[in-house]
């Protein structure tokens, strides 16, 4: 499908959904039509209305209150991602090259990964306080495993022929790392980058939601506490915009670094 057409349909979906929401929450079904009393299909008390949400979001940005919270969440997300990814790359490489270490730690890695990370949030709050670091820690536990498994796989899955060729070309163990294992691991890591960044954000927001004094998660939690549905939806909207911007950045970085990888787009042209 052409880009313009695709964009048109994508926007169409949003317009239809918002229109349905708008009609459902603003047009009253007259009394005696379907029930004794007049009612809304989507009660604005529970569903708010699109205009209220947009207006609230606009006001938050215009007055600037949201920027501070957005900054906190962004900082937590970035820290969680950087620390988690760095740890995942290092440990992933180490395990992939040291079979004994990998074998010994294998059951514990699986155990740790199977643990629902939300249960760790109160522990991190206890250990690290209610500041940003307990949220960063939660994000790290999510990001680490994704990157770890992918780097591990990337190092393991290097084509044996490419590896043999590299050795025949005279590469030392260090040169193999740099010219073969690292690029291969990197390509696997990038295939999981979108997920990893997403999880970093989840860690930050969930952490804030469960206990903090700043950030988007905190804002949503606050709004919920006073039954301010408009505030909750507005928070979600900001979060969604935030995710799309981050994802676009990730895609741009990916396209720059992964030029060598055959893509469906380049094979068509």
């Amino acid at each position: 499908m052409k880009r313009a057409r695709l964009l048109f349909f994508q926007i169409l979906v949003a317009v239809v959904l918002i229109a349905l929401w708008h009609v459902g929450s603003t047009v009253k079904v007259p009394a005696g039509f379907l029930s004794q009393k007049a009612f809304f299909f989507l009660d604005p008390f529970f569903f708010s209305t699109p205009f209220a949400v947009f207006e609230r979001t606009w006001r938050d940005f215009a007055t600037g209150v949201i920027w501070f919270h957005l900054g906190i969440t962004l900082l937590e997300t970035l820290l969680a991602f950087v620390i988690g990814a760095a740890g995942g790359v290092l440990i992933g490489f180490w395990f992939a090259r040291q079979h004994v270490v990998a074998a010994v730690f294998d059951p514990y890695v699986k155990m740790a990964n199977a643990l629902p990370r939300v249960v760790l949030a109160p522990i991190f709050a206890l250990w690290l306080g209610l500041g940003i670091w307990s949220k960063v820690a939660l994000g790290v536990t999510l990001v680490f495993f994704i990157v770890f498994f992918n780097v591990y796989q990337g190092v393991k899955e290097v084509s044996p022929t490419v590896l043999a060729n590299a050795r025949m070309l005279g590469m030392s163990e260090r040169q193999l790392m740099r010219h073969v294992y690292w690029p291969s691991a990197l390509s696997w890591m990038f295939s999981s980058l979108h997920t990893a960044v997403g999880f970093a954000l989840v860690g930050a927001v969930v952490g804030e939601y469960l206990g903090s004094a700043a950030g988007l998660g905190y804002r949503i939690h606050q709004a919920e506490g006073v039954f301010d549905v408009t505030g909750v939806f507005s928070g979600m909207l900001v979060l969604a915009i935030f995710v799309i911007i981050i994802d676009t950045c990730v895609t741009a970085i990916e396209n720059r670094l992964m030029v060598w990888r055959p893509t469906s787009a380049s094979s068509q042209t």
Binding site: S159, T161, V162, A164, N165, A166, R167, M168, L169, G170, M171, S172, Q175, H179, V180, P183, S184, S187, V259, W260, R261, P262, S266
Partner: protein, 281 residues
């Protein structure tokens, strides 16, 4: 050796040989308890500067022989000697053009060729300069910035050839380098290879399943029998004049005589080989 009619492989004094495989057996430990013996009792030598082609039915162990010569696998019995010295570990004097795709997919054609000198300690500038030179020799100057997936199969093989030759190995191992290419491209590539080899005569072990190609290129054609436990069942010297042109040499009556002679010996093995692979499948 039970095939009494086949000539005995020509042996050259192993002191002068670039490659000397002596009574070599290679057994893969696998699912079977005793393992799978791919090749057995192989005697093969390649003199310095000699071009030897190995022909044999699929699955007979041609790649296995090259891997042993490259030092990627160790023989289960017998020995591999390189310029008179027993081979330990990787064969540092050999360049290996693999049967499967072996280019680094994350490097451009130029970077792929430059990696050899770079690894050997040349500066990046110097390595690139030499790589450009080699890309020109294989006719790929215009494709220097392409990644392997943006090149055709034949272009990838040429990059591979440049990648191996830039290191100036004393021994060149080539495993069906023109395998997936069409007939015309094979001839062009064959002539390119002969030109490069004429300019600098290395010892070459060239694996192919195309007997005509083997005769047209080589000084000596070695025929392997069908596996398992495949052996060399014969070797023929090719006394066609050099320098050769692949398409012209095929018109030579001596070429036809030799082809007929080798083929009559090979045919039975090929039929045997197909029967075995069919039985296994």
């Amino acid at each position: 050796m039970d095939s009494g009619t086949a000539p005995v492989p020509i042996r050259i004094g192993s002191r002068h040989c670039a490659v000397a495989l002596t009574d070599m057996r290679i057994t893969f430990s696998g699912q079977d308890r005793d393992g799978f013996t791919a090749v057995d009792r192989v005697d093969l030598s390649v003199a310095d500067g000699e071009f030897v082609a190995i022909v044999g039915p699929t699955g007979c162990g041609k790649s296995t022989l090259l891997n042993a010569t490259a030092g990627l696998i160790a023989p289960s019995a017998g020995s591999v000697a390189i310029f008179g010295e027993p081979l330990v570990g990787l064969n540092r004097r050999a360049g290996y053009l693999f049967q499967a795709e072996a280019l680094f997919p994350w490097k451009t054609a130029l970077e792929n060729v430059a990696i050899g000198p770079e690894v050997a300690g040349a500066t990046a500038e110097e390595a690139r300069g030499r790589a450009r030179d080699w890309l020109a020799r294989v006719g790929l100057t215009a494709f220097a910035a392409r990644y392997p997936h943006q090149l055709s199969g034949g272009q990838r093989k040429r990059v591979g050839l440049a990648q191996v030759l830039i290191r100036d190995p004393k021994i060149l191992l080539m495993d069906e380098p023109f395998g997936p290419l069409d007939a015309q491209t094979r001839q062009i590539m064959g002539n390119l290879l002969l030109d490069l080899w004429n300019a600098d005569r290395k010892a070459v072990l060239f694996v192919t399943h195309d007997l005509e190609e083997a005769i047209a290129l080589a000084d000596r054609v070695v025929i392997m029998g069908a596996g398992p436990a495949a052996r060399i069942i014969g070797a023929w010297r090719v006394d066609l004049p050099r320098p050769r042109d692949i398409s012209e040499v095929r018109l030579d009556p001596a070429f036809h005589a030799l082809h007929r002679e080798i083929w009559s010996a090979l045919r039975d093995e090929v039929i045997k080989g197909y029967r075995q692979t069919e039985g296994a499948a």
